[in-house]
Symmetry: C2
Subunit: 105 residues, 2 copies
């Protein structure tokens, strides 16, 4: 059994950002939001809220969770905040986990 540090309670630091990604992707609302994006497309809060059953403020909240997990990038232009998928981060993160699984599981 692998023990990190003195007991189970410590996690390798490189796994921390991963927990946020998985938690972000583990919610169905956030999955639906992500699946809306076409390749390279940018969407703002209003567009997403318009096709969602959730309130605008709720959509904004979920977008922030995705943003903090680095799954989405964002840029404010004028009145609107535009979001798009952080493809590089997602590829790198998923690739790392896949490598870990292949080597250590």
């Amino acid at each position: 059994m692998k023990l990190f540090g003195t007991n189970i309670s410590s996690i390798p630091p490189e796994w921390k950002p991963l927990a946020r990604v998985f938690a972000a992707l583990g919610d169905e609302h956030r999955q639906r939001i992500l699946l809306l994006f076409e390749k390279g497309e940018r969407l703002n809060v209003g567009q997403i809220a318009a096709v969602s059953t959730l309130a605008r403020s709720t959509v904004s909240h979920h977008l922030q969770i995705l943003h903090k997990a680095s799954v989405l990038c964002s840029e404010k232009i004028g009145k609107e905040v535009w979001f798009w998928i952080n493809r590089n981060w997602l590829e790198k993160t998923l690739g790392n986990v896949l490598n870990y699984v292949q080597q250590n599981c």
Copy 2:
């Protein structure tokens, strides 16, 4: 913007089992549990609870979540239930998501 079905509320069915996996991996306790496993190793509830700060019943609960998400396999032998990482499923699932990202993001 991609719309599945009539509105945002429907998700492609192939994404459903994925939500469970991500939700399972998105919890730090469960990450710690998973990281305990050596390559190919099998562990039972008691072994994991022994190095954990969580109660035995709580560990059992988390193991069930991981099991329902297909992240862990289990087999009951005598009094004990042995768990091990479902390497194939993890590889396949992560690989699928990675492919999706590479093709559609």
